[in-house]
Amino acid sequence: MLTTVAQAVVNGLLIGGIYALVSIGVTLIFGVVKIVNFAQGEFVMIGMYISYFLASSFGIDPLVSLIVVMPALFVIGVLLQHLLIRRVLALGDMPQIFLTFALSLLVVNVALLLFTANYRTVQAPYSETAIHLGAINLPVAKLIAFVVAMTLSAVLWVFLHATDLGKAMRAAAQNRDVAMLMGINPDRVFSVAVGVALALAGAAGALLMPFYPAYPLVGQVFVLMAFVAVVLGTLGNVTGALIASLMMGVAESLGIQFVGADSGLIVVFVMLLLTLALRPSGLFGGRSR
């Protein structure tokens, strides 16, 4: 019994790492640019496909492909900010939300056109192996994904707290007007924020590739969980998103184990709704927005 619970917790943590990468991106964009990027999942999907093609054409391992995927998505993020997001910043919630929705629709269907609906998988040497710690199984691919995800999160944290640009981002997140008065260029800060967020999404994709199939709609499977984590961890709070993601992964896993395999999501949603009822700004929130 204890083993079962322990294994469930481990499983939850491992997949929580992936949720974290996606949700941190969403919360970063929201914190700095104040837009909810409903298309975040699609950038995970792009990361997966880049990784897939590098693997199938050149035999490059998905982990190695991170070197290509992350910069590529950073660039895409900067372009996205510059070409699209910048234009709706002043327009208010609804056009912003619908812009990112439309973007999501666009990216999914372009992917459908280019790649068809077929599932693509990558078989890495560690795709099906596992480390055994006593009675606990740690699938290697997921473990690596978790470790990399945590590392990237740590790097991001350092960036946000120890570098000038990172501090500028946090300043802009807290109070855009004052930050501008202090000489911070909002455009640059926003571009970096979106770029970093998309790079993290792409990383999630590459990390998923060894154990998850790629197909045009794959992003949408993860993005819902990511959004719940973002809200739970308070919109804009990167650490919150990370912790909430891990919590949700574990809650989902335990929910599947003890409530029912079709109840994982219900458990998570109930968590969300309860939290919102009791703490509308999320677990780590101060004032609500």
Binding site: Y119, A130, P139, S253
Partner: protein, 406 residues
Amino acid sequence: MATTRMATIPRRHARRDFLKKSASVAAVAAFGTTRKAFAAEPVNIGGLYPVTGSFAQIGQGCVNAAKLAVQMVNDAGGIKSLGGAPLNLIVSDVQSDTTVTRTETDRLISGYKLSAIHGCFASALTLIASEVAERAKMPLLTGSSSDQLNKDRHYTFTPFCRASQFALAQLQMSKLVSDAPKVAVIFENTAFGTSTSNGLREQAPGQGVEIVMFEPYSAGLTDASPLINKVKASGANMLFPVSYLNDLILIIRAIKQNSLQIAINGGSGGFVIPDFYKNVGAVAEGLLGVAHWNHDVNADAQKVNAVYKQQHGEFLFEYAGGLVAQTFMIADALERAASVDPQKVRDALSTLDVSSGYAAMGPGGRVKFGPDGKNIYAHPVGVQWQHADLAAVFPKEDARAPIVKA
């Protein structure tokens, strides 16, 4: 996450003459140098399949098979009692969407002089098409296994086995692997999953099989490990996953990752299509499943499979092969009715009784419909992945290859 596709908005419009034209062009092109001048008007039949959307992979294969079938019928001289009239297939993409299915079925029936239709692979879509067809008094053939399709209908014909029969076959096969099977059943909470699993639960006691875990799960898994963890804890020695492809891939891989030694019967659905092997690889070797049709059932099936393989590069899978047979059943009915009137075709289908030829190339080798539209001779075959292909291995009469012990 259930199958919400967040930002995908289904378009509910049909393909117009584009598909009709391309189908006709294909049919004409197939005749090549032996082109005859057709004195007889073509007979229109409709094919409704999800070529886009969540079932797109399978839908495309179905359309390919449907076109091939029509080509085969026409190559053999068409409908002789109608002066050699060729079949004209009118394909419609139902976009894996219920509303589109509703309007498309209607559009085909009212827009073209159809004599019969076949479709739609997925249960929900087929149920809707069946409702529309029933009200329009248009005969519909389908390989969909949903038992609801045989209730209170007069125009729906199901030549292949039902979900409950799949379940029975799986249970019987489990006894081949173990004397005291302890089965864990995990199934998607979709129509496909629930109907098949219900059959398993109901018939298990009668077969002496103990079900130690019976769990629906939300389709669209992010991670199959929690599920497999539960299977492990249940003490099962056999697993019946009832899933479409993407979840199956995750489940099979998670079993490997968690070093779970367990026999698997993957059922039907996503398990018996070429893409399963493509994505899972050698891990699939030796895995058991069930199907309502397999390409090694008899010589006719092998012939069709060879042609299809040549055209499309992969073997002819369950649903696609079944619908080739359905096309020939329609042709047979047209032949006997000597009319394109859907009512007469329907009546001819209700008196269908074939035991040879492409119409009868399913397991059991014979098709005859009971009053509820069920083929009284239909039964499933147990299949096994052997050398990147599916071989029928159960029951003995239908086995074309020995079972390989894993």
